[in-house]
Point group: C5
Chain length 355, copies 5
């Protein structure tokens, strides 16, 4: 649950633009990497001093500055000062409890997204917030600092100069980053799909209380996924409609493609939700059915043996004058009667389809 | 379930426009057929070399090039190169996990739809993705390659020159293809309707756990159907509103007609969904009712025989001084009392309407 | 159920405008009636030859041509040829599985509606599709051919020259027809209301499995009603907003009135739906309550008699040395103890409010 | 239920504008009262002849003519004739099964609302339809004729010349009437709120079948309330937006105020609905819980006494060679064993938290 | 519940603008504080005479007049008279049962919000209504008078001249107040989140009737929270879009920030609601499961001991001729048979997975 809400209360009452890191500290030392390229040249650098990033603001080549780890606030402060970002933007980057959104600031566009990972050990989705700032010829990305990200293949493409990317501007770079994030959602969906499938089979074979708990857990993962994915629709449709002049006409078609993927992720999330809620119905009805089965067994046993025990009780009475007791064939007769009763009961239950 | 999501994860991180076939390989060798016609002439050809299709790009007659089987990527690549399609379009054609959509590219319109078949053996809906590209005087269609399609009657009409089709342009051909696909949905609906009807009867007659499973299965088919049908509304309304100049004024009225059919398919899907969810309620209540019946039987038996057995137990005690045991008519008296208790109980349950 | 979907599959793949009658044949010979009138003159005629209807196309007086029975396709074909209707319109008239809709064709407006009847025998709603074509000075209506319709009072008004109708144009006639149809929906609502009321009472008095089935049946009738009524809203609001120039300014106010009625029908349908779904909850809870009652009876009986039977069993044992058996007052003492246990149990259950 | 639908069927098929009173006759003789005022003068009159109302049409002072009791149709007919109302308006006034609505007729505005009363005796909401016609300098109001209305304080204000009302025009008078009606809804809400609160307490203390019935009844009252209140939103927002020129700029702010109140009534209705549906869940779960409790008691009793009774049965057998029966301490030993079993069972159930 | 509706009935029928305090009297003597500042100067004052506030209307510096406690109506009356507020505004300030709203009056903007506190003692959310009036250079705030508010940090900032606030106008002050209120909602959300988390754990460990009641209570808090938060969206989006000229361009970006927070609060509220309703399902299914377990125990016990007791009963019969009774090994044989039956039963239940 704690992954659904974060401790924002510490910020209540502080002036807007106050820089406080909300979220977990995921890495000791922030890691800053710079990728700078155009069609002909390319350089890659890892640095510890944020000042190295300043010259790239004005350079005509496309620069991608990636900062992992947000807890050293002064890095962000100095970067923001140099590039002239609004204090609210810096505040939002540090607050890792953001809803995905896109904000247009004229000179630059600020985008917040969630990178999702599937933690196979705990069967849980984990999220890392990523902030993108798209300027005329730079993209700044800020990650919480979790080890690894979803951009390695993209980095390879830039290094190798493969595909269109080295020929296009910063807007295409921003698109590529977003595309990599959204593409990764499909991996999450596949994992969830496998769990749904597995639970469906378990439900048919032999539903237990554990099945119920897992359905409930799956439902919570769905809620979590939806929280990250739903607002995306608006974000990317905003970028696609070209609300910002920073996104050029020929890049828009690519944003339309990501938009399609987003809709598909949302569609599938909804379908999974529906299936999971259908599974709940099946679970509850199978619990009821098993209760029915149990009760039938009890009823059959009781209905057969109660009259018989009663009969045995009758002839266990100690009345002085009980003629049957004296009969030569009394005992076998009682056995016969008892068997008749038993067989009748069994036939009755068979007719009622209980057996 | 696996029909709801496909392995898209292999594409995560690759550059846009990378051609990878996502989906099942449904046929060994792709099959390419060309139908070329205008009011006066007609030719039909089946070929293996994609190059044969190139001349039809410029021919003023209407050409319909149908490609079945997508796994030989170079076919698509060469075709796309000749006709000048955007790489994203080619990528989408190969990805058979698309949501129905329509994209306008100026020179041509790209449409993705789902052909649905009802697999009677497994009582399941099966889908085959079909991509249409409508140009000035050609329609290209790409199928996954499943044996057979829904266009045979249409082909007959073109061959025979029956109806309006030979006099109209490529937009009318595109309409005819879409119409054939949507018309086929009604067949799916009829089959689902029959299953709904059958389950309703089973529900009244004698609901079993199997009924429940079938209701659940039907629900999943509904979800699947809806996934294919819902986005269609937007697709066809886009074509009808004439967002593209490729669709002429007098063809639009036909698209309005398909639009109506689409709405009707959606309507019926929703109605089926509602009916199926109503059936679930009936099922659950009938399970509860049967539990009630079972419990009543048990209670009646127990309530009649427990007091009687107790009484028999009393006179089975071995106390030295039990005057009743010595009575001459003790035994018959006990029988009388027992019968009285039994009759009273039966009357009591009859009054309570349990019998 | 079969009333929810009709066999449309026979049309799949046929060219648009193919005239095939989808639906039941409800009458042997189609019946054609002509009413022609203006403020001063009036004539009424029943005919068998469709050619008699042709002259009325150009006559300045208002003509209402009513065709009952659709299976003789050539009638429609010839009529459509003379009046110049679009083939899709003719196709839609014959397909009695239409959704209510309104289509504007410049020269004429095509409207599809459902006439609903309440079949008291089977407690079911029955539908008959009616197509209206409103032209400059004529209204053509096509009914499936079920005996009787809802227009008799309207015919009387035209014959008698009562009210406004003889002074107004064809648009007012179309309004009057639609108004008669919508007014009739209120009768359906009243019948459904009575059933809802009846079931509510049954639910309070003594709900049985039959009650459940009837609730379910009512729910299905609701779905059916809603299918016919919901799309009406859009149809009539289209007419009211005057999308067609065939509807004059002073008639629009009347369409606003029908629109109000439609909204009211929809409102009431929704209210009934809510009530019926509330009834389901009450039913299920009453089933649970009865189960509770049954189980309490069982538990009380078992809890009282099991200890007593056990006690009787104790003193039925045949141990040689059981001092109590020899006591003079052993037997009465056991009775006393048993009574004490019984009374204690009864008091205990009374305290627990089970008795 | 009959309060949800009224017998409208008698109108089916009649021409529009036919004056038929639909609803209950609530008073013998209609009562007509006239209040006429401006800033300086005031007169109040009760009359039986409708002709007395005619002069007020042209008088520049503000006149409020209130008609209670609608069954004498000729009154309305003559009034409508003099003031020149559209026949559909007169028809709607007489039909007390209207949905709240506002219709703009240029010269006048026609408004239908529902006055709601809370009938404490039957714990039911009762409705009386009121129609308002706002003209340049008059407001006509038509009530069904139920004794009493919600306007007494308003009348006092006019008589006493208190507040703004005597200085403002007819639009302000119409506002005041609507305001009085909407204000009265809050009283209904308070009563419903009290019932909700009462039921919540009952639910915690001791839910019975009666509680369920009352929840169901409350739900129905909610449906009824919502039917009257929902359409109001649109009505008043129409008046506020000043769709009619009869409502002056400075009165609009007051309509905005009523609009706020309406939204609040709707909000509260929705909140109540949610609470009531939450109560249903609590009720059902408490029924299940009690069943659990009952079953536990039964199971505990059976599990303790069945083995004991079995043991007693063993030593009640009459085998010739049963060595235990001869033992000196056999009987006490059996008692010891039985107690051990009993205590073990109790401990077991305590461990399982059933006791 | 009483916190959901307040006694508004006393106002029914009174003229608009009548000043009546609706709500609880939360403090004896109203407390009026004035904060007046611009970039260079600052004064703070607490006063009892409302007249002291009048001069600040025209002063060019930014003034914040905070009134706590509303029951002394004449204070409001005089203040309203001096500042020229519309009577409806004054009425709304006094009515503490308002829905959050924003009203534009040209010269000033009237805003109503709810301050929420979490009462740890009763685990309940408490609300205090706050009205803000934003003028050219003043902000008036009216609180119900509960001890303490959420503005202390803001006051510190103004006093200390920290941050942007002393350099900005009254619109920024209004923003800061709203921001403080919305920020405080996150604290409420955290508390609710903790309760949700706690209940989830309880649900897994050992759900009791108390758990159910707490889920229900939580649901009610959710409804309460939503009532306060939902309308906020519209309020703040109205302010952000700059409907009023009182809010300057460069302040709007801050309102966008609050708007984001509001959306996030709403998002989280909805997520909590979903989780709570999911918990209900888990609770109900765990109740059913426990019933199943109980019934299984009962059935197992009964199924094992009933046949055995019957057998014991057989050999407790007193027939004269029962050969088995005479057998030397009859008694041990019966024991053997009984053990066989018992073991068979246990194996049977183990196979059925009941044990």
């Amino acid at each position: 649950m704690s992954k659904l809400t974060k401790k924002r209360s510490q910020k209540a009452g502080l002036p807007p633009g106050t820089l406080i890191h909300i979220g977990e500290k995921k890495r000791e030392v922030p890691k800053i990497t710079i990728l700078d390229y155009d069609e002909t040249q390319f350089q890659e650098r890892e640095t510890k001093s944020i000042e190295e990033c300043f010259p790239f603001k004005e350079k005509p080549t496309v620069s991608w500055i990636n900062v992992e780890g947000l807890h050293q606030i002064e890095i962000l402060e100095r970067l923001g000062g140099c590039y002239g970002f609004h204090p609210l933007v810096l505040e939002d980057i540090l607050n890792t409890d953001q809803r995905p959104k896109m904000e247009e600031y004229g000179e630059y566009v600020y985008i917040v997204l969630k990178m999702l990972y599937y933690d196979d050990k705990n069967s849980q989705i984990e999220a890392e917030q990523i902030s993108l700032i798209l300027g005329q010829n730079f993209v700044l990305s800020f990650q919480e600092g979790k080890e690894g990200d979803v951009f390695n293949l993209l980095r390879e493409r830039i290094r190798g100069g493969k595909g269109r990317i080295r020929k296009m501007g910063a807007d295409y770079l921003a698109y590529s980053l977003i595309d990599a994030i959204v593409d990764h959602y499909f991996i999450i969906l596949e994992r969830l799909g496998e769990r749904v499938e597995f639970l469906e089979e378990e439900l048919v074979a032999e539903p237990t209380t554990k099945t119920m708990r897992e359905i409930h857990g799956l439902k919570r993962e769905m809620i979590f996924l939806r929280k990250a994915v739903w607002p995306l629709r608006e974000v990317i449709s905003g970028l696609e409609r070209g609300e910002s002049s920073l996104i050029q006409e020929n890049t828009r078609i690519y944003f339309r493609d990501v938009y399609d993927h987003t809709i598909q992720v949302i569609d599938n999330t909804e379908i999974f939700r529906e299936m999971v809620s259908g599974m709940l119905d099946v679970y509850l009805s199978s619990v009821s059915n098993r209760l029915n089965t149990v009760m039938k067994v009890l009823t059959i046993i009781a209905t057969i043996f109660m009259p018989l025990t009663f009969l045995a009780g009758i002839y266990g009475m100690n009345f002085k004058y009980m003629p049957e007791l004296e009969w030569r064939w009394g005992y076998p007769l009682v056995w016969l009667i008892m068997m008749a009763i038993g067989i009748f009961m069994v036939l009755y239950f068979r007719k009622k389809k209980w057996l």
